[in-house]
Amino acid sequence: MAELEAWRMDVRDWLAANCPDAMREPVRSADDHVWGGRRWVFSSEAQRLWLERMAAKGWTAPEWPVEYGGAGLSPEAHAVLREEMARIGARTPVSNFGFWMLGPALLKFGSEAQKRRHLPAIARGEIRWCQGYSEPGAGSDLASLQTRAEAHDDHFVVNGRKIWTSYADRADCMFCLVRTDPDARKQAGISFLLLDMESEGVSTRPIQLISGESPFCETFFDDVSVPQENLVGELNQGWTIAKYLLTHERENIGGEPPGLLKGRDLGAMALAAIGADAEGRIDEPSLRHDIAGLEIDAMAFRALVDDVRARAEAGQGVGARSAMLKYYGTELNKRRYDLMMDVMGAEALEWEGERTHGGQYAREWLRSKGNSIEGGTSEIMLDIVAAHVLELPRG
C-alpha cells in the first residue's frame, strides 16, 4: 500500500512536469486521437512530444514487459497511472488495434522473435495495425471465412477479400484470419497471419459510414506473398487466437464512451442545455427521469465491471462474462447517445460548422449504432451468454 502511494506521488510529479498543457484539454474531434503509424501526421507539436515522452517511459503500454516496450506495471500500479492521468485530464498518448488486440495476442501466442519485432514498434506508436477478420460472406458466422492462404516453402500466398476493415487504408499492417486448410472442419482450417499493407497485391477501397466518415474499407488480396515467419501460433490453430483476441476487443468496446461524452455527466449537460426549474432541477421531468434511469443502469454496470475485474484479479477468470459486458456496455452506450441527442435538441442535428465541431453530436450518435455490431453483434453476445454462462441447450 505504502509502495503504491509512493508510486502515485512519482507518477503525479512526472505527469505534472511532462504532460503538455494542450494534452490536458478534453478530446474535441477525431483529430485529437493519435493513431500513430508510419504515415501519421501529428496535429500539434504537443501531440508528438507527449507520445515520445510516454513511450520512453513505457507508459503507452504500461503492463507489457519492459523488453517489449512496456513498463512491466502490475494491474494495481497501472490503475494508479490511469487515475493520475484522469485526474489532470491527460489524453491517451496513442492507441490503435495494436494495443487493444494484437499486443495481448502476441504476448500470449507470439514467438520470441515476433514479440521483439512487433511489440516495441506498437508501443512507440510507429506501426499502426488493422484487423482483417470479417468478409462479405463471414460476419457473425466468422468461421465460414474464405480468404485463402496457400503454404509454399517459406511463404504463404493469400487471395481473397475482407470487409469492414477499420482504417485499412491508413494502417501499416494487418493481422488477419485466413483459411489454410479448406478440407478441415470450419474452425479447424484457419490460421492467424500478419501482413504488411504495402505488400504487392493488397488494395483497399474506403466505405462511407452513416456518420459521414470512412473509417472502414474493403480490402482485397491478389496473390499477396507473406513470409512464413508471419504466421502466429501453429498452422491451422488460428481460431484459438482469434477467439482470445475477440475477448479483448469486447472488453474494450464495453468500456466508457470515448469522444464527446467522455467523462461528462448527462444530468449536468441537461441542466445547462435545458435550464433549471424553481428547485434547481432539469426543467423537463420526463427527460430527467430517463437520464436518471440511464445513470442508474450505468452505475450498476460499472459495479458489475468492477466485480468482474476483481474476480479476474483473484484468478477467477472472465471468460464468457466478457460477452455480458460487451452486450450491455454497448447497448448502454447507444442509449446514452440517444439521450444526448434529446438533451442537445436542434443543435445536435447540425451536421457542419464550428459550434458543433463539424456535427460531432450527430456523427457520434450515428457512430454509436455500430457499437452493438462491431466485435460481435448483441444477438451473438446473447447467444454466447445463453450457451456458455447459462448453459442452455443449443438451438
Binding site: 434547481g280 427521469h289 452505475m299 466485480d307 476483481a310 455480458m324 444477438e379 447467444d383 454462462v389 447459462l390
Partner: protein, 370 residues
C-alpha cells in the same frame, strides 16, 4: 463484490439457515391460516439464536454490529426462500433508527431485546398511497407534563400487529423546517388502533391510527429517520436481488426441463436471449446493491445516490425476473400451487416499500444534483 472471510462465513451461515428453516410454502400456510401467526416464529427464533436479528445492533447492546453488507447478505438469502419474518422492520429499520437515537435509556431498553428476538419493532413512516416520508400529516404535540402525544394515521406499517414497539414519524411542530422526527410508541398504548391489512405477499401489515397516543421522542431528529430509510432501502435491494436470483434459477431449470416441439424450450433463441439479457440485469442489480451497502458501511459521500439507485434497479429487475418467470412457465406459472407467483407478489410489495423505483429514481436524480 468479493467477500472477506467474515462476510463469507456469514453468507454461508445464512444460506444454510434459510435453506433448512425457511420454505416458500410457509407463505401459503400463513395466508391460509394453517399457521396462526403473522410471521414464521420458528424461523425468527432460529435467526435470533444465530444472532441475525441483532446484525446491526452494537456489540455493547448484545448485537453483532456486522454492518449493512452483512445485513444485505442475510436479506438476499431471506429473499431466496421468501422468509416470512419481521427482519427488515425490526433488525434493520428499527435497529438503525434506535441506534441513532439520542436517548440512552431508550436504546438500552430496546436494542438488546431486538438483538435476541425477545421483542419486535417496526417503522411507521408512510401515509396514504405513496411514500412521502418527509412530509407527514401526523402531528406530535407536547403535553403539559413534558410528555408527547401523537395524532394521525399511518399506512403500510409492516409487522405492526406483532410489534412491541412502533417508531412513528411525525411533525413536531417546532417549525424549524428540519423535517419529521421519530417517536417511540409501545404496543397497547392509549389511542393506538391497529387495523390489519395483509398484503398480496401475505405479510403482516397494518394501517394504524394514533389518537392522543403517548409517545417518546427518539431525540435525533430527521437524521435518525433518514439513516433508517437508507439502511432499509439498501437491505431491501439485497432482498429483491435474492428474489430475482431465485426466480431466475427456477426459470432456467424449467427451460432445460420442459419440452415442446420435440426439444427443450430453452433451446429456442427467443427465450435464450431474454434469459441472457435478464442474467446480465440480475448480476448488475446484485453488484450495485452490494456496492451501495458497502458505501453505507464506509459512509462514502456517494452513498446517498447509490442507495436509491440500488433500490430502483433491484426492484425493476426483480419484477421483470418474476414476470419473465411466469411467462416462461406457461400455464404452470399462473397456478397458486407453483411458487413463482409467490415471488412475483413479494417482488411487487418489497419493490414498493420505502419508495418504489419511480420514487427512488427521482431521489437518485436529486442526490446527483439534477
Amino acid at each position: 463484490m468479493l467477500l472477506n472471510d467474515d462476510q463469507s462465513m456469514l453468507a454461508d451461515l445464512a444460506a444454510r439457515l434459510f435453506t433448512d428453516k425457511a420454505d416458500p410454502d410457509t407463505v401459503r400456510a400463513i395466508r391460509d391460516g394453517r399457521i396462526d401467526s403473522g410471521y414464521d416464529q420458528t424461523l425468527w427464533q432460529a435467526m435470533g439464536e444465530a444472532g441475525l436479528t441483532g446484525i446491526l445492533v452494537p456489540e455493547a447492546h448484545g448485537g453483532m454490529d456486522f454492518g449493512l453488507v452483512g445485513a444485505g447478505l442475510v436479506a438476499r438469502e431471506a429473499g431466496r426462500r421468501l422468509a416470512m419474518t419481521p427482519y427488515v422492520s425490526s433488525a434493520v429499520l428499527a435497529a438503525t433508527a434506535l441506534g441513532a437515537a439520542d436517548d440512552d435509556a431508550l436504546r438500552a431498553r430496546w436494542l438488546p431485546a431486538l438483538a435476541d428476538a425477545r421483542a419486535i419493532a417496526t417503522l411507521a413512516c408512510d401515509e396514504g398511497r405513496h411514500h412521502r416520508p418527509h412530509d407527514p400529516a401526523t402531528r406530535a404535540v407536547a403535553g403539559g407534563d413534558g410528555g408527547w402525544h401523537l395524532q394521525g394515521e399511518k399506512t403500510l406499517v409492516s409487522d405492526a400487529a406483532e410489534a412491541d414497539l412502533l417508531l412513528v414519524s411525525a411533525d413536531d411542530g417546532d417549525g424549524d423546517g428540519d423535517g419529521p422526527c421519530l417517536f417511540a410508541v409501545e404496543a397497547g398504548a392509549a389511542g393506538l388502533t391497529i387495523e390489519s391489512t395483509p398484503l398480496l405477499d401475505s405479510r403482516s401489515c397494518a394501517r394504524i391510527t394514533l389518537d392522543r397516543t403517548p409517545a417518546q421522542p427518539l431525540g435525533a431528529g430527521r437524521p435518525a429517520l433518514d439513516a433508517s430509510l437508507r439502511a432499509g432501502r439498501a437491505v431491501l435491494a439485497a432482498e429483491l436481488v435474492g428474489i430475482a436470483r431465485e426466480v431466475f434459477a427456477r426459470t432456467l431449470g424449467y427451460l432445460h426441463e420442459r419440452r415442446q416441439f420435440g426439444r427443450a424450450i430453452g433451446s429456442f433463441q427467443a427465450l435464450q436471449h431474454r434469459a441472457a439479457h435478464l442474467s446480465v440485469e440480475i448480476e448488475m442489480a446484485e453488484a450495485l446493491a452490494f456496492r451501495a451497502l458497502e458505501a453505507c458501511d464506509r459512509d462514502e459521500p456517494g452513498a446517498d445516490a447509490m442507495v436509491p439507485a440500488a433500490k430502483a434497479k433491484a426492484a425493476a429487475v426483480a419484477r421483470v425476473a418474476a414476470a419473465e418467470g411466469v411467462q416462461m412457465h406457461g400455464g404452470m406459472g399462473m397456478t397458486d400451487e407453483f411458487d413463482i407467483g409467490l415471488f412475483m407478489k413479494r417482488a411487487r410489495a418489497a419493490g414498493h416499500t420505502l419508495g418504489g423505483d419511480r420514487y427512488c429514481t427521482d431521489a437518485f436524480a436529486r442526490a446527483r444534483g439534477y
